[in-house]
């Protein structure tokens, strides 16, 4: 017997129960209902509508709760996917689809909860027992809290995903930045220089002259006749080009020293002016002090005179 029960799926006998209840109610209302059939029927209807409301409320609340549960399951799947992303095989499409679906679900659930709350409020104005109303408000609040926590988790998952993406971008940049400057150029340029013999130093020199002339703009004409002259003069020119570079370094140091000296001199001037201003203002301060002393003396004398006057007035 118990086995059979387990095998058979449940039978929804709610309809039968409801019809039985209807019949019973009708029999009750038809019995003592002679004096006020309308009122009792209306009361019965009211009760029925209350019951209907309650079951309607429960149905909707349970639907919303189920929806929230499903959404949180989808969210956990999304979180797993987002954590799993690596640099190369990124399940972007799935993640985006799942994100869109979850967002839709959350908005729908939100509106459903708001509807439920309105419904519950409208029903509460019908004057039902306080227990039912408090129960329904508690249910609505609970659903709202759950929805809020789900939304927060959703936001966390999205932030985690953006951070992961950023980290991957950085790593990708580190590995695949293009070699613009280094590898091909120096070997392409320098190897011909290294291979050439001493006789070919004539060609090398203008390149170095180009290099050093860029930092010292003196003696450009030496480059043009560097080609056709023997090695000794090359060396001399090299020396001459080195010396102006050395000079330019020394000159720049001298220039910097002179700048520093002039700045210090200006600072000295400024300090002198400051001292003059302050001494002048000191004189002003002394004048103010004297004026205040005079005022004090005058006021004290006036006070004494007034006191004498008071004495003379009051004694008469």
């Amino acid at each position: 017997m118990p086995v059979k029960l387990a095998q058979s799926s449940f039978r929804d006998r709610t309809q039968e129960f409801q019809s039985v209840a209807e019949r019973l109610r009708k029999s009750f209302s038809s019995g003592p209902g002679q004096n006020g059939p309308s009122s009792s029927t209306s009361r019965a209807e009211e009760q029925r509508s209350v019951v209907a409301h309650q079951s309607e409320f429960n149905r909707r609340a349970s639907k919303i709760g189920f929806g929230i549960h499903q959404t949180s399951q989808k969210l956990s799947k999304l979180a797993k996917l987002a954590k799993r992303t690596s640099v190369f095989d990124d399940p972007t499409m799935e993640i985006q689809e799942l994100t869109a679906v979850i967002k839709q679900d959350i908005t729908a659930l939100n509106s459903a909860v708001v509807d439920l709350q309105l419904f519950c409020n409208s029903r509460n104005e019908g004057g039902v027992s306080s227990d039912t109303s408090s129960h329904s408000t508690t249910v609505v609040d609970d659903l709202k809290n759950r929805l809020m926590s789900t939304t927060k988790e959703f936001k966390d998952v999205l932030t985690m995903r953006t951070e992961n993406l950023k980290v991957h971008e950085n790593r990708r940049q580190l590995f695949s930045s293009n070699a613009t400057k280094d590898s091909p150029n120096p070997f392409a340029r320098q190897r011909p220089l290294a291979v050439k013999s001493a006789a070919g130093a004539a060609n090398n020199l203008p390149k170095w002259a180009n290099g050093s002339a860029s930092s010292s703009q003196l003696f450009p004409r030496k480059q043009t006749d560097g080609e056709s002259q023997p090695l000794l003069q090359h060396q001399q020119q090299q020396q001459q080009q080195m010396v102006p570079l050395q000079d330019s370094y020394i000159q720049s140091r001298a220039e910097a020293l002179q700048n520093v000296e002039s700045t210090i001199h200006e600072l000295g001037t400024i300090f002198n002016q400051l001292a003059t201003l302050v001494s002048q203002q000191g004189e002003l301060a002394i004048r103010i002090d004297e004026n205040m002393d005079d005022t004090l003396a005058n006021v004290e004398g006036a006070q004494g005179a007034l006191l004498k006057y008071l004495n003379s007035i009051s004694s008469n």
């Binding site: 940049q173 580190l174 590995f175 695949s176 930045s177 293009n178 070699a179 400057k181 280094d182 120096p186 070997f187 320098q190 290294a194 001493a198 170095w208 290099g211 050093s212 860029s214 930092s215 090299q238 020396q239 080195m242 570079l245 050395q246 370094y249 720049s252 140091r253 910097a256 020293l257 520093v260 700045t263 210090i264 200006e266 600072l267 400024i270 300090f271 002016q273 400051l274 201003l277 002048q280 203002q281 002003l284 301060a285 004048r287 103010i288 004026n291 205040m292 005079d294 005022t295 005058n298 006021v299 004398g301 006036a302 006070q303 005179a305 007034l306 004498k308 006057y309 003379s312 007035i313």
Partner: protein
């Protein structure tokens, strides 16, 4: 304002390639796979520049976007790879410091070196990180910067002193008015005392 590498080389008298005595590179801003080739490139260019710098001379060569500064002092050559914005003077003062430090630490032992030395010299690495800011290397630059700041502060001081002077002016006027008023007050009080005794 970046130093990419500092090297110390021993320059052979003629022809032969210089021998590297110390090497400090900072290649962190290149991609991971270019770093070794960049190091090779730095070593190669420094050898070439060292060979071409005559003793007792300073030299700066522009190469792509690097300036390579070299200073040869009696066969000991020190080379720095800096970018274009690093001031030349600071670069050479830094090279001076490095070469002095090297001679202090290693004396004349470098003259007998025959092969590239690969052991790191911590002072060079420290110098590389410390002197990324040219003001550290060049005392003149630091002094100039501080003097400019002082000048600005002094200008502000003078402005505030002038404002103080204006306030003192107004105070002087008010105090002189006050003293005149108090004098009038005193004279009035004396007059009332003398004239009317019986009202």
């Amino acid at each position: 304002m970046k130093i990419t590498a500092l090297l110390v080389l021993k320059c052979m008298p003629e022809g032969a390639d210089p021998i590297i005595l110390a090497n400090a590179c900072d290649v962190s801003h290149f991609g991971f796979f270019q770093r070794s080739s960049v190091r090779e490139f730095i070593v190669f260019v420094s050898r070439t520049v060292g060979k071409r710098t005559p003793p007792g001379q300073r030299q700066s060569v522009q190469h792509d976007e690097y300036k390579v500064h070299s200073y040869n002092r009696n066969g000991l050559c020190v080379i720095g790879f800096m970018d274009d914005h690093y001031p030349v003077r600071s670069a050479f003062s830094l090279l001076n410091q490095v070469i002095d430090e090297y001679q202090k630490n290693f004396g004349e032992s470098w003259r007998t070196a025959q092969a590239d030395s690969t052991e790191p010299w911590p002072y060079l690495d420290n110098a590389l990180t410390k002197y990324q800011d040219p003001a550290e290397a060049d005392k003149l630059l630091k002094i100039q910067r501080e003097l400019d700041e002082t000048k600005i502060i002094l200008h502000q001081t003078i402005d505030s002193v002038l404002a103080r002077g204006e306030k003192l002016d107004s105070l002087v006027e008010k105090s002189s008015d006050l003293s005149a008023a108090s004098q009038m007050f005193y004279s009035q009080a004396k007059k009332t005392n003398q004239c009317c005794s019986i009202l």
